[in-house]
């Protein structure tokens, strides 16, 4: 089992969700996050005073998938989230040691 985490541009969320459903992902968790990377922030001007806004809004998507589905999922994520411009985001994969469905107590693949 692997936990795949992706941070993507907020307006790409719908495309990514559809692509993940198409790739057979059973469920995702989405959160609104802020951060900075190579894209950097932007400036805003209020009554002539400039403010640097360092943190850029992003969406973090998390999902647990079977080891065999990792490549397929990454490819769906990359295709759907890409604009080709700086700030498209990142994907990382970590081991998920145990997965348990709360209602039934099922574990592993059965719990996905």
């Amino acid at each position: 089992m692997k936990l795949i985490t992706a941070v993507v541009k907020p307006f790409k969320l719908d495309d990514v969700k559809e692509a993940l459903k198409g790739a057979g992902v059973q469920g995702i968790t989405v959160s609104e996050v802020r951060g900075f990377g190579r894209q950097g922030g932007h400036t805003e001007t209020y009554r002539g005073a400039e403010y640097n806004i360092d943190f850029v809004p992003k969406v973090r998507i998390e999902m647990v998938v079977h080891d065999d589905d990792v490549e397929k999922t990454i490819s769906a994520l990359r295709t759907a989230a890409s604009t080709g411009k700086i700030g498209d985001g990142k994907i990382w994969v970590t081991n998920a040691e145990r997965i348990i469905r709360i209602r039934t107590g099922e574990e592993g693949s059965d719990a996905l």
């Binding site: 805003e44 001007t45 209020y46 009554r47 002539g48 005073a49 403010y51 640097n52 806004i53």
Partner: protein, 413 residues
């Protein structure tokens, strides 16, 4: 006694319009502060509607419009004694005789007394103790506001008799509140982190909403000041509209040139600057003069935004740049644009063959109002600071006024 029913209806409605400006101001300012202080800002404004109503009825009105003294009113009308049936207020005779019921005049003037100290809250945002605020505006509403209103509005007042003109409160409301704002800010000090940290507005839609309410209410403020439903009221109303429009456009042009974008906050600020400037002029100018007055003031106020960083005083929401400078600009421009063809009780300004005499009187009224308001407010703020303290603790400033002063949160996560 018989009253003009049209005038009475219009002044009663205008009283309601002017009252509505205070919650409008609350949203105008509330949108500009950080989200942890928005209730603090709304509360300071809404509370002015409670406190000053009582103070005005018990003593404030009497100090502003009672007696025949040149410098101060008296206590004849305390608790509005005998006011309902009085034939005329002192000085309000002949040319100045009122054609509305005395109580309509009392309640209409009350709304001005409420919003004037509320204007100060924009300068002191995010850091003033609520208890100190209550005492400050309470004292202010009894000592400062009625005195300046007496000088300028009452036909017995010395500035009125000098010939200074102020149709709806350029000096009494805007210079008066702006000077007080500067005084309190100097005692209060800067917000923690200012100007190093970014403190951007948390809800500009609130600010635009508030601007709409202020603009709407301003028709009651300026056109209601005719105290009649006649041609002069119509003149004041169209002047108000024209100056708000030209103030907005002028601000946006200079903002686009100097900062790169025309912003919603700029549109709101420019409109308010135009409205402030036309306030003293509304019933004394005509033609296209209000467009010039609004536009010149929009430019000037924008250029004055940087004064606070140059001189290092944290006028948080630019009350000085918009209200003090805007009020000064309007009062002085009246010395140029006033026209007796519009109002025979006014005077002719420099551009209408009156020479520089009116300009001098306008300058005198502006300086006298500024000096009195600044000095008294500074002393009151200093005394409060030395006794109960006027500033919240550093921890409370960090937590925000909403939680520390009112035990509430505006937006639940």
């Amino acid at each position: 006694m018989t009253f003009d029913s049209g005038a009475t209806a219009w002044v009663l409605v205008s009283a309601a319009l002017v009252l509505f400006m205070t919650p409008g101001l609350a949203f105008f300012y509330g949108g500009m502060v950080r989200s942890k202080n928005v209730l603090g800002m709304l509360m300071q404004n809404i509370f002015a509607m409670g406190l000053i109503t009582i103070l005005w009825a018990t003593v404030g009105f009497s100090l502003a419009f009672g007696g025949s003294g040149k410098y101060f009113g008296n206590f004849d009308f305390m608790f509005l004694k005998d006011v309902a049936n009085i034939p005329n207020f002192p000085g309000y005779v002949d040319d100045f005789a009122l054609i509305i019921p005395p109580l309509a005049f009392v309640v209409y003037q009350m709304m001005f007394a409420i919003i004037t100290p509320a204007l100060i809250t924009g300068a002191t945002a995010d850091r003033m103790k609520f208890s100190a605020y209550c005492i400050l505006i309470g004292v202010w509403a009894v000592v400062v506001y009625p005195t300046v209103a007496h000088w300028v509005f009452s036909p017995n007042g010395w500035l009125f008799q000098e010939g200074a003109l102020d149709f709806a409160g350029g000096a009494v409301v805007h210079i008066n509140a702006g000077a007080a704002a500067l005084a309190v800010v100097l005692v209060l000090g800067k917000r923690r982190g200012w100007p190093r940290e970014a403190m951007p507005p948390h809800n500009l839609p609130f600010t635009i909403l508030g601007t709409g309410i202020l603009w709407f209410g301003w028709f009651g403020f300026n056109a209601g000041s005719a105290l009649a439903a006649n041609g002069l009221a119509a003149q004041a109303l169209i002047n108000t509209q024209l100056a708000a429009a030209s103030g907005m456009i002028a601000w946006l042009i200079i903002e686009k040139i100097k900062a790169g974008h025309a912003t919603t906050l700029g549109a709101a600020s420019g409109a308010v600057a135009g409205l402030v400037a036309i306030t003293p002029c509304a019933g004394f100018v005509g033609g296209m003069a209000p467009i010039a007055i609004g536009a010149i003031t929009g430019f000037v106020c924008y250029l004055c935004l940087t004064l606070k960083t140059k001189f290092g005083f944290d006028d948080s929401l630019d009350v000085i740049a918009v209200h003090l400078i805007g009020g000064l600009a309007g009062s002085l421009l009246l010395g140029l644009f006033a026209d007796t063809a519009i109002n025979s009780l006014g005077a002719d300004g420099l551009f209408f063959g009156g020479g520089s005499s009116l300009l001098g009187k306008q300058a005198l009224a502006s300086v006298a109002t500024f000096a009195f308001s600044f000095i008294v407010t500074y002393v009151v703020a200093k005394i409060l600071d030395a006794t109960i303290g006027i500033r919240v603790t550093p921890e409370n400033e960090l937590i925000g006024l909403d939680q520390s002063q009112h035990a509430e949160t505006a937006y639940q996560a």
